[in-house]
């Protein structure tokens, strides 16, 4: 068919890396703009300026940021209690907040607001994964037993990583070297970071999480810490699992980094640090995680470095059940049929499930606010939330399909290819 061919659009001028990750990224729209930002700082500079504050409150309200708007409105009223515009806005805001489903409502802050009224129930709604910084070399308390389901992954971890670590002599007898790291890969939000922490817990080792913000600090030279200091610190804290999260940022293909010398230097440094690790003798076990292993420099995947890859897929039924239970544990619930929700959420990632629970909690909160008393979450709330949320793993799998077609000559994506064959619709 000729038209299909002649209409093939050439690859766009947007740098390729961007075009690709755009498809993977989930962009959460932030209703914010430069005008508002500057007005907000103006208000800070002149707290007593009632008309300005009201204007800001109006803008915030227009953008659906009702709690903030309300805060500014009340501030204005404390300065000028009789201001009719302020009173009118207050009325508008309070009625907007109590309408059944406001268009965009900042539920996180709303939940924070009710935290005092309805004791700790809503206090822990945030995603449990904290932003990692280098300082937190922690001793994780989670173990593989806390990871719900995912038996295959656990078994592979046991055979390829944990077993040899626990029995170094035996491993040696079989000529299995302990040098080199294990690279966890898979769609976003499916438990890679969680698994790495559990592995450290399992080994009774410390857990040293190096995340994207540490990497950025290295790039911009904002911190003294560089990779060799990180590896040294890991050695001092042995036994230690050194977890290089989002390794695609740290070990980006050097050919992609044509313009950025400092980024390329970091990749080279990482290569030499990986080579300097002497297996289990050091007591440093390196784990990496990435959503895009195909963006990782090939040199990092050579023997002695990240020579083994482990696919972490969206949670299976057992995992979904345990994730749902975890996210509902501190929320007021009434006889929830977890199995029913589990069946309705195939291909959902762990993060999607957390999102489902938050969305359901929003509904519950709205209903409670309307009723003026606490109404616990129901299966129906969760089902409604499931209908609203599409699994975020779709784009990842469509990229994965291309990758297995082009990039699996060496068989490193066999697991992924097999999974894609089994799930043709993904």
């Amino acid at each position: 068919m000729l038209s299909a061919r002649t209409n093939v659009s050439k690859v766009e001028c947007v740098p390729l890396k961007l075009a690709e990750s755009h498809r993977i990224g989930i962009l959460d729209p932030m209703p914010d703009d430069a005008l508002l930002t500057s007005l907000l700082s103006a208000v800070e500079a002149a707290p007593g300026d009632v008309p300005l504050r009201l204007h800001v409150a109006e803008l915030l309200a227009d953008r659906g940021r009702l709690p903030e708007a309300l805060a500014h409105c009340t501030q204005a009223i404390t300065h000028d209690a009789a201001n009719p515009a302020a009173l009118a806005l207050l009325h508008r805001l309070t009625s907007a907040i109590s309408t059944p489903e406001p268009p965009v409502f900042d539920w996180t802050s709303a939940e924070e607001q009710v935290a005092d009224i309805e004791p700790p129930e809503f206090a822990h709604v945030e995603d449990p994964a904290p932003a990692p910084t280098i300082e937190d070399i922690e001793r994780p308390t989670v173990t593989l037993a806390d990871v719900g389901g995912m038996e295959q992954v656990k078994e592979r971890l046991e055979l390829a990583f944990l077993g040899p670590m626990r029995n170094p002599q035996l491993a040696k007898a079989f000529g299995k070297t302990l040098a080199g790291g294990l690279l966890l890969y898979g769609p976003p939000g499916c438990g890679k970071t969680f698994l790495a922490r559990a592995v450290a817990g399992e080994l009774g080792a410390r857990f040293y999480n190096v995340g994207i913000s540490d990497v950025l600090d290295m790039y911009v030279g904002a911190s003294e810490r560089n990779l060799s200091q990180i590896f040294d610190a890991a050695r001092r804290n042995a036994p230690c699992v050194l977890f290089l999260d989002e390794i695609d940022a740290l070990g980006q293909k050097r050919s992609h980094l044509a313009h950025s010398t400092s980024m390329r230097n970091v990749v080279n440094q990482l290569l030499s640090e990986m080579d300097s690790l002497g297996g289990a003798g050091d007591g440093v076990f390196v784990l990496g995680a990435t959503n895009h292993p195909w963006d990782v420099d090939n040199a990092l995947r050579r023997p002695g470095r990240f020579d083994r890859m482990l696919l972490v897929l969206p949670p299976d039924a057992a995992a979904r059940a345990s994730i749902l239970r975890y996210h509902l544990r501190d929320r007021p619930v009434a006889q929830i049929d977890v199995d029913k929700i589990v069946r309705a959420t195939e291909h959902f990632s762990g993060a999607d499930l957390a999102h489902v629970c938050t969305t359901a909690a929003e509904r519950g909160l709205a209903a409670s606010m309307r009723a003026g008393q606490l109404r616990p979450l129901t299966t129906a709330d969760l089902e409604a939330a499931v209908r609203e949320i599409r699994p975020s793993t779709g784009p990842w799998f469509s990229t994965a399909r291309t990758v297995t077609a082009f990039g699996n000559a060496d068989g490193s994506y066999d697991d992924l290819a097999a999974y894609l064959r089994k799930n043709k619709k993904l």
Partner: protein
Amino acid sequence: MSTAAQRVEYLRELGRFDDAEREARTALAAEPQDATLLVALAAVLLGAGRHAEGLAAADAATAAAPQDERVHRLRGLLLSYMGRHHEAVQAGYTAVSLAPEEPYAATGYARVLQRAGRLTDAMTVAHRLVALAPNSAASHFLLADVASDLGDRRTARASYAEVLRLDPQHAAARHDLAVLDARSHRPARALAGLVDAGTMDPSMPQVLQTVTAVLWQLSWRLRMWLAVATVIAVFSGSGTEPSWSARITAAAILLASAALAWLTVRDLPAGTRPVVRAALRTDGPLRFTWIATGVCLAVYAVVAVTGLRVLVVIVWLALALLGWLTLGVRIVRSARRRG
């Protein structure tokens, strides 16, 4: 550049647009008029395809730093993606006027002109860009792209070759060169190039789409050949009885088909098969077309054995059916593309 702006740039370069945006907005809350941050934010939003929001940031940056070339360059690109070509070209021109020696400004201006359909002007700017930055693969890539839009295949080919010489892993250049091959009716070469491009950057989604288009092209060729062969088979004799002339014609057609197929596939790289399979999986009608064409060849094999010339009618019917199917698919798809 401030540390914050640098972080935003790095995050953008890594393709982490949401992180980059968050970083930029946080920094902007403290310094709402920082032009560098606003430019960085606009670039992030451009990368993320959120052009209207990007334009708001770029406009704010214009107010803060009207003499900064980057501001106008980004405004131009954003306007261009929003289809506001006239303003886009103006902004692009402002950028090159402010920084006549800056390759990025020239790049932006050329892109804007190209997207506005002013290809000859874009070509002039692209040549200027190559003069400004002769050792950058990006310069030659732009020139190649504009030249290929302009139909100047020779310049395009030479420039793509130069890109690949400067940066052998430039997957986009490899892909676009393959597109050029396909347009020059060399589907086998195109396919080989596409397999290369996909191996360089397997996460580039366009490659598989282009492979599909090339497979359509190949199937169209095969069907044209079969149509000609069928005419020959029909006119080379008559009668419903088994005949040696029918056997010989059919065998000759099969042999010629095999020779054509061999000529097509002999230079294809080893990794072609999984790629073709993946492409066929994404396109049902294409799959059907190939299966039906295979059936046609099988019919000729039967004729070669039995000598029953009448069976050729099946091939006729199948080819006619495929012709209609192709037409239907083409109409539906181009309507969908437009709608």
